[in-house]
Symmetry: C2
Subunit: 430 residues, 2 copies
C-alpha cells in the first residue's frame, strides 16, 4: 500500500447515476492506491490497516470536472459583461490573448490561474490556452505541478483574430501544432494535449480539415465551441455554406470525434434535433456553460433535452465569459437557467433536479476522464472535503440538504482538503 491509500470519515455525498445522491453521515470512503473502493455506512473492517482521516462533520464529495475554461482569460474575468459574444471577443478577449506572445506575461498570468484552479472544487479540467506555443507549454508546466488533471489545448486560429492573434496560414498553424506536440511529448504526469480549433469563424476549411486528420492520425481529442450565439451561427452558415448545421460543419471537417476520442463542444445553446443527433452519433460531450450564456445574453441551452436524449454532458465555467472558476456557483446558475428555460421557453422541458445537476458536475463531466466523479468502487479517487460549519442553521440538516445549501449559497463553503487520484493536492492548512 502506498501513501495514497487511506480512509476518510465524514458526511459523504456522491452520485451513482443522475437520479439520486447517495449520502452517509459519519460514513467512510476508502482509497487504495488512488482508486476508490467504495463508500460505507459502517467501518469497512477489511481495510482496517489503512490510516483513517476523521473529517468529523465535514462534507466529503467527489471532485468536480470543469469541461470548458479559458486559462488566458482568467485575469480579466468579470468585466465587459454588458457585451454579447462577438463584440466581447473583439473588444476584450482577443486583445488580451494577443498578450500571451510575451512569455513573461504568460508566466505570471498563468500562475494566478493555476493556483486558483488548485484551490477550487475542480479536480479535472479541459482548458483552452492561446495560439502561442511557448505560453501554452508554460501553462502545461504549471498545471502539471498543481496535480489537477487537465487537457490543455494550444488554440488554432488562422482567420478573424484581429491584430496579433492570427496564425499566418493553415499550414503554419498545423506546423505549430506539430511542434507543440513534439515539445511536450512525454513531459507530463497530469497534463495532456487536446486539439483546439477555436471555432469555425477562427479556422479556415483547410485548417479544420488538417486538425481532423491530425486527430485521427495521432489519436488526439478535440475541443471547440458550438452554437453559442445567433450571430455566430449565421456567420458559420456563411463561412461553410454547404453545411446543414453548425455541428454538420464540424462533421464535414472530421472534427466531431468518436466514442473513443470524444470531442467537447462548449455551449450548444441553439442545438436543435439535427445537432443533437450529430453530437450523439459521435459520442461528443456538451460542455454546458450557463453562467457564460447568461452573461453574454447568449440564451439558455436545453440541457434537459440533451440528458434525456442520452448525449454526454458536463458543466463548464467558461471563464472569462463565465466570471468564476467556482463549480458550485456554476451549478447554481445552471439550475436557475434550467428553471428559466422551463418557465420562459418550453413548459414541457422540466427543470433539472438538484440530483441531476450534482451528477453533471461530478460524474457527468468526470466520465470524459474515465471512471471519475463518484465514490463507486473502481473510480479514481478525486475528493473535496468541505467545512460548512460557518453556515449556521437552527435545524439538524441532512447531508443532502447541506450540499444543496452549499450550492445555492457558496459563500460559506470552505475547502479543507482536495484529493486527485488519492493525492492530496491542496489543504487549507498549508
Amino acid at each position: 500500500m502506498t501513501s495514497s491509500s487511506f480512509i476518510l470519515k465524514g458526511c459523504i455525498a456522491f452520485s451513482e447515476g443522475s437520479k439520486s445522491i447517495v449520502t452517509y453521515r459519519g460514513g467512510y470512503v476508502v482509497c487504495v492506491d488512488g482508486i476508490c473502493k467504495g463508500a460505507f455506512s459502517e467501518f469497512p473492517k477489511r481495510y482496517e490497516n489503512l490510516p483513517l482521516v476523521d473529517c468529523k462533520n465535514q462534507l466529503i464529495i467527489p471532485g468536480m470536472t470543469d469541461l470548458h475554461v479559458h486559462a488566458p482569460q482568467y485575469t480579466f474575468r468579470g468585466i465587459g459583461m454588458d457585451e454579447e459574444l462577438l463584440e466581447w471577443l473583439s473588444k476584450y478577449t482577443f486583445p488580451e490573448e494577443a498578450k500571451y506572445s510575451d512569455l513573461s506575461y504568460a508566466r505570471k498570468a498563468y500562475g494566478y490561474f493555476a493556483e486558483d484552479l488548485r484551490r477550487c472544487f475542480t479536480t479535472r479540467a479541459v482548458v483552452f490556452a492561446t495560439l502561442h506555443n511557448e505560453a501554452t507549454v508554460e501553462l502545461m508546466d504549471q498545471l502539471d505541478k498543481t496535480g489537477v488533471i487537465t487537457y490543455v489545448g494550444k488554440v488554432n486560429m488562422d482567420r478573424n483574430g484581429g491584430v496579433g492573434l492570427e496564425e499566418e496560414s493553415a499550414e503554419a498553424s498545423l506546423q505549430a501544432t506539430l511542434e507543440w506536440l513534439e515539445q511536450i511529448q512525454g513531459k507530463y504526469t497530469n497534463t495532456m494535449p487536446i486539439l483546439t480549433p477555436r471555432f469555425i469563424p477562427s479556422c479556415s476549411d483547410e485548417l479544420m480539415k488538417g486538425l481532423g486528420k491530425l486527430s485521427a492520425e495521432k489519436g488526439l481529442r478535440i475541443q471547440s465551441h458550438l452554437s453559442e450565439n445567433q450571430s455566430e451561427i449565421a456567420w458559420v452558415k456563411e463561412l461553410v455554406p454547404s453545411s446543414t448545421s453548425y455541428a454538420n460543419a464540424y462533421e464535414i471537417f472530421d472534427t466531431m470525434g468518436t466514442a473513443e476520442l470524444p470531442t467537447i463542444m462548449a455551449h450548444c445553446v441553439y442545438s436543435d434535433e439535427e445537432e443533437m443527433a450529430i453530437l450523439k452519433k459521435h459520442g461528443a460531450y456538451i460542455a454546458h456553460c450557463a453562467d457564460s450564456n447568461m452573461n453574454l445574453a447568449s440564451g439558455i441551452a436545453p440541457i434537459r433535452k440533451f440528458l434525456d436524449a442520452g448525449i454526454n454532458i458536463g458543466l463548464g465555467t467558461d471563464v472569462a465569459a463565465g466570471s468564476s472558476m467556482n463549480m458550485i456557483k456554476t451549478m447554481l446558475i445552471s439550475l436557475q437557467a434550467s428553471k428559466m428555460y422551463y418557465r420562459l421557453v418550453d413548459a414541457d422541458v422540466k427543470p433539472l433536479s438538484f440530483e441531476e445537476m450534482f451528477y453533471l458536475a461530478t460524474m457527468g463531466g468526470g466520465s470524459y476522464f474515465g471512471k471519475v466523479g463518484s465514490f463507486k468502487d473502481g473510480y479514481e479517487f478525486d475528493a473535496v472535503v468541505i467545512d460548512d460549519s460557518k453556515m449556521y442553521s437552527m435545524r439538524d440538516m441532512s447531508v443532502r440538504e447541506r450540499i444543496e445549501r452549499m450550492v445555492y449559497n457558496d459563500a460559506d463553503a470552505f475547502i479543507t482538503d482536495k484529493y486527485v487520484k488519492g493525492n492530496k493536492i491542496y489543504s487549507s492548512a498549508e
Copy 2:
C-alpha cells in the same frame, strides 16, 4: 463636529442617476455629522480639519438597500429549492415560521440573521418577521443594535397558514398589531415598524381593510407580495373576485399606499400595464427579487419596463427563496435575469446596463429611506469599504471595472468597514 465627521480617501464609485457611475481613483468623500458633503477628486480644503481615513486602493461605495428579506427564513436558506412558491411555502416556510412562537428559538435564530446583516453590503433593509409579537420585538431589539437601518413587520395572516401559523381572526390579528406597535413605541433608534400583510391568500378581506385603515390612521407604511407566481395570481383572483388585477385587490383594500407612505410590493414578475399603472399612481416601490424568482421558477420581472415607466424600484434578496443576503450576488443574478428576459421573452426590452443595476442596488432602493444610496451632497452617509486586492489581475483596472468585476465575482470582495449615517457599524478588524 462629532465623531461621525471624517473624510475617506480611496477608489470611490457611486451613482448620481441611473445612467452613469461617478468614479474617483484616490478620491475623497466627506461625512459631516452623518451627512455626505460630496465626493471629490482633489482634497477638499474646506474640510481640512476633519480626520482623514486613508483606505488606500480599496473601493468605497454607498451602502446597499435590501428592500425585501424574511428574517425568520434565514437559517434554512438554500434548501427545498426544487419546489415552486406555494409548495415551498407549505412544505418549508410556514412550518419554520411557526417555530417562532418559541421566543428562545427566535432569539437564537435572529441572532444569526442580525449578525450576518451587520456584516454584509446592506446598510438599509425592509424585513418580514413572523406573526408572533414577542419574536418580532426580539428581532427589532437585535436589529436596532446592529446599526443597520431597518423597517420590520410583524406579519399578518389570518387564513391559509396551516398548523401553528394562522391568527384566529382578522380582529385578533389587528389587535395583536396594535399591541405590537404599543410595545415598541419610542423604543428604537434604527428600527421602524411597517405593516405587513403577508399576501392576499394569507389575509381575509376584513384584515386587509383593517390594515389599510391602520396605515392611514397611524401613518404607517405597508409591505407585501405581488404577482410572483401564476398559481398564486389565479388564487388571488378567486379570493377577490371583484378585483381587476392582483394589484387592484390591494387597491380595493387601501393598502397600495401613497407617495408619502409608499407600499413595497415584492416580485411583480407578472405585473402588466394595468398593474404598472396602479403601482405608479400610488408611488409604490417594486422590490425586484431575481434570485428568488429564478430559484422558485417563478419567472423574470420586466424591470426595464418598470424603470422606463418611472416606477420606484430597488432590489431584494428575498431570503430564503433567495439564498443569500449578499446584495452583490443579487445584482449579478438580476443582471443575468434581465439579459434572459431580453433574450427569451421580449427582444424589445433591453437588458439593464451595469450602471442601471448599480443604481438600483444603491440609490434605487435607498430612496425608500430618503436621501440614501449616493455620495451626492446631502445624502445620509452610508458606505462600504471593500478590499478586492486578492482578485489578481494583469491590468491596471479602472474603478468602474473593479466594481463590475466585484459584482460578477463576489467571492474575492471583502468588506473592511461599513458605515451607516456616518457611524462605523462593522469592521473586519473587530
